[in-house]
Symmetry: C2
Subunit: 209 residues, 2 copies
C-alpha cells in the first residue's frame, strides 16, 4: 500500500478528487487532523524560549511533545485507513449467488466493516486530544499566535466530525447490531463533548482578536 502522505499536497488532493479507491473521506479526515495538531504545535514553537512565557515553558514543551505524537499518529492513520478499505471493497464484490456464498460474504464483510470502523474511531480519539491541547495553547501560548490555537481547535473539530461519518457509514452496514450500537454510542459521546469544546475555543479566540 503506497504511503500517500509521502506524496506532495497537490498530488494527495488530486488523487483524493479522483475515483481511485483511496484516499477517501477517512484519509482526508486524518490528514486534516494532522494539520490541526501541527497548527497547535506551531503555537508552542512560537511560545517556547520567550522570556514572557518562561512560567509556562515546561508545560508548553510537554504539550508540544504530545501534539507532535498526535500529528505522527494521524498521518499514519491516513495510511491505515487506506489499508482497511482495500479488503472491504473486495468483500463488497464477493458473489452471493448461493446461500453458502451469501453466508461467507456476510462473515467476511462483518470482519472488514469492524476494521473499517476502528480506524476512524482512532482518528476521532486523536482529534479529541488535539482539541484538548488547542484549548490550553489558546489560553497559555503566545498571544501573537492565539489565532493559530483557534485554527487548531476548529480544524480538529471538523476532522472529528468528518471521521464520525466514516464510522456511521460502516456501523450502518453491520449485522452485529450490539457491536454497532456500542461503536455508535462511543462516537456520539466524543462528538457531543468535543464538537462543543472546539466551538468554544473558536468563540473564545474570536473574542480576544
Amino acid at each position: 500500500m503506497e504511503d500517500m502522505t509521502l506524496q506532495s499536497c497537490r498530488t494527495f488532493v488530486d488523487v483524493l478528487a479522483s475515483s481511485a479507491p483511496t484516499p477517501g473521506g477517512g484519509g482526508a479526515s486524518a490528514l486534516v487532523g494532522a494539520v490541526a495538531a501541527a497548527t497547535g504545535n506551531m503555537v508552542g514553537s512560537l511560545t517556547v524560549g520567550k522570556k514572557k512565557y518562561a512560567a509556562v515553558e515546561e508545560e508548553i514543551q510537554a504539550m508540544m511533545e504530545q501534539a507532535a505524537g498526535l500529528q505522527e499518529k494521524l498521518l499514519d492513520l491516513v495510511v491505515k485507513d487506506a489499508e482497511v478499505f482495500e479488503p472491504l471493497a473486495a468483500a463488497y464484490g464477493m458473489p452471493k449467488d448461493t446461500p453458502e456464498q451469501q453466508a461467507e460474504k456476510e462473515r467476511v464483510m462483518e470482519i472488514c466493516l469492524l476494521a473499517a470502523c476502528e480506524v476512524p474511531m482512532q482518528i476521532m480519539e486523536a482529534c479529541c486530544q488535539v482539541i484538548d491541547l488547542a484549548a490550553v495553547f489558546a489560553e497559555k501560548g503566545s498571544r501573537l499566535a492565539v489565532s493559530d490555537a483557534g485554527v487548531s481547535a476548529v480544524l480538529a473539530g471538523a476532522a472529528l466530525e468528518a471521521a464520525s461519518l466514516n464510522v456511521f457509514i460502516n456501523t450502518g452496514s453491520m449485522k452485529d447490531r450490539v457491536s454497532a450500537a456500542a461503536l455508535e454510542a462511543k462516537a456520539n459521546g466524543m462528538l457531543d463533548r468535543y464538537s462543543v469544546q472546539a466551538a468554544e475555543v473558536f468563540r473564545a479566540v474570536r473574542e480576544v482578536l
Copy 2:
C-alpha cells in the same frame, strides 16, 4: 517563495508545526479548503458514468469542474498566504524611534495588513462555494459516497472559520477602522450563513447513514 504545496504532506505538516514564518494558520486553512473541495469532487467522480445517476450526469459534471477550479484556487492561496505574510512580518520589525519612523511604519503596516486580510477573505469565499457544492453532492451524488459529501461540507466549514480568524487578527491591528469594519462585516456575513449551512449538510448526511 517556495511552493509548499509541492512538498510532501508530511513535510508540509512538519514545517507548519515549526516556528518557520510560513505556512501558518492561513496556509493550513487553505490546504484544508482544498482537501474539502477534492472530497466533494470525489463524490462526483464516483457518480458520473453510472446508469443509476444518468439523469444528473450533466449537472454533476459541471459541479466537478467548479470543484476542481476551487481546489486549484485554494492550493494557490496556500502560496499567496505565505507571500503576503513575509512583508507583514518585515513591517512588524520596522523601527519606530522617531515620529518619522513611526509614521512610516504605520503607513507600511496598513498596506501589509490589508494584503494579509485579502488572502483569507479569498479562502473564505472559495470555502463558501465548496459548501454550496457539497450540499448538492450530498443530495444528488451517488448514495455510496454520501458520507464523503458530508466530509466535504464539514471540512470546508472549518476552513471557512479558520480563515476568518486570520482576517480578524489583521483587521484588529488596522488603523483605518472603516475598512476594518467593512472587512469584518463581510467575514461575519459569510460565517453566519455558511457555518450553519455546513452544519446542516453534516446533520442531513448523518441522518441518512
